[in-house]
């Protein structure tokens, strides 16, 4: 007997749940050749607001977790991703071999950032020599909720922008690549089963030009990563909106995702706390 296959509904990922867009809208996702792939949810500004609330709610717990614990959870994400290698390769598309290589590179990138969780404070923080009988320490602290506009590279690019933001204790709202959002939603399924607390990563699919300005102007967002914005006018408008509450903004030149990432993506969304301790006798 033949059976009907069960198709997946691609929804948003907000606060650990998979809601449809509040607006009820969707848009068609096609392959680079123009073939129909799926209908994805088209998020609205209210979904942006809900996602920011979820990220804000998750922030105290996630930033308060020990760096060791955060590293373990990132590593767990890598494990789950590895287990879905074939599915991701299919969704990334563009030939089986390069797709599998991209998935492997994404897993490796996660493991790389997972290792940084309990080391970044040692590398980026310092004991400062001061002119007085004090022990003076500067330590990096997460900045809060970060809005991330993900680049077109659907998986490796996505992992490369999300991992550095959350590994240090920030929470984030991600606008997935507009043309290739399917791996992002499947990544949501991976995150939901990786012990990552709900709301640490929230993934929206939809039109970048519609969503990015709302993230940029939101007064409860503390950082903005514009990596995925290719339209210079949109990027400029976002930067101007972000200035209102002094968001930390990252707007890199076109990155090469295969290169060694460096720590810039982590340090951009860190703040420095300096503490003066009276020196012991």
């Amino acid at each position: 007997m033949s059976r009907l296959s069960v198709r997946k509904t691609y929804k948003l990922f907000i606060g650990g749940a998979f809601p449809r867009s509040e607006s009820g809208r969707s848009y068609v996702v096609t392959s680079p050749k123009g073939d129909f792939l799926a209908n994805a949810a088209r998020a609205s500004r209210k979904d942006v607001r809900d996602a920011v609330s979820a990220a804000r709610k998750a922030f105290p717990g996630w930033s308060g977790a020990t760096p060791y614990n955060r590293g373990q959870i990132l590593y767990r994400i890598a494990e789950m991703l590895e287990g879905r290698r074939a599915q991701f390769a299919e969704e990334v598309g563009g030939g089986k071999k390069p797709a599998l290589e991209a998935v492997d590179a994404a897993v490796d990138r996660l493991v790389w950032y997972a290792g940084w969780a309990d080391k970044i404070a040692s590398v980026y923080g310092t004991p400062n020599p001061v002119a007085g009988p004090y022990l003076n320490l500067s330590t990096p602290e997460p900045t809060g909720v970060v809005g991330v506009v993900a680049p077109a590279d659907p998986l490796l690019g996505l992992i490369s922008v999300v991992a550095p933001v959350i590994v240090t204790g920030n929470t984030c709202v991600v606008v997935a690549a507009e043309r290739a959002p399917l791996p992002a939603i499947t990544l949501g399924e991976v995150l939901a089963t990786s012990d990552l607390p709900g709301g640490v990563v929230n993934i929206l699919t939809g039109h970048q030009a519609e969503l990015a300005p709302w993230l940029a102007s939101h007064m409860d967002v503390n950082g903005l990563d514009l990596t995925g914005v290719t339209d210079p006018e949109l990027a400029l408008a976002c930067e101007q909106a972000a200035a209102e509450n002094l968001k930390r903004v990252l707007r890199p030149v076109t990155p090469d995702w295969s290169a060694e990432p460096g720590i810039e993506r982590m340090t951009r969304f860190l703040e420095t706390k300096t503490v003066w301790h009276p020196a012991g006798i």
Binding site: V48, W214, S217, H218, M219, D220, V221, A241, N245
Partner: protein, 302 residues
């Protein structure tokens, strides 16, 4: 009617029963109304002007009450002032001093709030203390134990005694609907309070969950509507507790409009007992004026 427990019981139990499913469904249906743009802006300002800004914590200090009073008088640029500040009796004098001449009323809880477990003498003394310190409004709790045991006369007489102690101050009677178990009881308690002379009936203390749900407020609004039809006396309604978002507040306003109409859509006849709600209203207000989503970092905590 209030000559004995038997006559009161006969009257209260003679009230028509509440259709629970129907009330829940009507409240849920009215909760789906979409209020946008200019209507929303108006609703937000109306809601702000109806807020009884409340702090009822063991840790309340004179400083916190003064800060709250300042916020009550000046919630935000262009926003109307709130209706009242609600505090414990021992802090009434602080609020009365801070709010003098501003038009914002001072409300005080009294009568062994929140449980109401004390003697009538203590409850009356508690009320007198609040009124003497300058309270314009007194929020009393009913004796839920007596009500649930069927001793309606005791509840009635307590309300009458506290009303007498209030003098010129307005009396709000808290039914604590979360402890009354059924909508029928909510309807009976509403009538009992109104018969005893309440100026306002209020859902909850805010210390018991569930507090001001939409269906419970609906039942109480129906009670004040029917009471005015019978007697010509208008009684106000105050849902309190659990109203945290602008959406919740606007749902309440829709409920008022659809159940009792314009006559109750003013701070004189409808109040929202809340503390965190005000910030959400102000943030939504900010969103409407600036076009950007507001963040809690830019609003005072208390």
């Amino acid at each position: 009617m209030a000559s004995s427990n038997a006559t009161l019981r006969a009257f209260l139990h003679g009230l028509p029963g509440v259709d629970r499913v129907g009330a829940d469904q009507r409240a849920a249906m009215l909760g789906t109304r979409s209020i946008k743009t200019t209507a929303k802006a108006k609703a937000i300002d109306l809601a702000v002007s109806m807020v009884d800004l409340t702090t009822l914590e063991g840790a309340d200090t004179p400083g916190k009450v003064r800060a709250l009073c300042t916020k009550a008088m000046h919630p935000g640029a262009g926003a109307p002032r709130v209706a009242a500040v609600c505090v414990y009796p021992d802090l009434v004098h602080v609020a009365a001093e801070a709010l003098k001449g501003s038009g914002v009323k001072v409300a005080s809880v009294a009568t062994a709030f929140p449980s109401g477990r004390s003697s009538l003498e203590v409850k009356v003394a508690d009320t007198a203390l609040a009124v003497a310190a300058g309270a314009d409004e007194v929020d009393m709790v009913i004796d839920r134990g007596a009500f649930l045991a069927g001793d309606y006369l005791k509840v009635f007489e307590e309300i009458v005694a506290v009303k007498a102690a209030c003098g010129a101050a307005h009396l709000k009677v808290i039914l604590e609907t979360g402890e009354l178990a059924t909508y029928d009881n909510v309807r009976r308690a509403s009538w009992l309070a109104m018969l005893a002379g309440a100026d306002f009936i209020k859902t909850s203390t805010g210390k018991v969950q569930p507090a001001a749900t939409l269906p419970v407020t609906l039942v109480m609004l129906e009670a004040v509507r029917d009471y005015r039809d019978e007697t010509g006396i208008q009684v106000g309604v105050k849902p309190a507790g659990g109203i945290r978002t602008t959406k919740d507040a606007i749902k309440m306003l829709v409920l008022v409009n659809e159940t009792v109409g314009d006559d109750w859509l003013t701070p004189d006849w409808f109040r929202l007992g809340a503390s965190t709600l005000l910030n959400d209203l102000l943030m939504q207000r900010e969103k409407l004026t600036t076009g950007r989503y507001a963040g809690p970092d830019y609003f005072t905590l208390d």
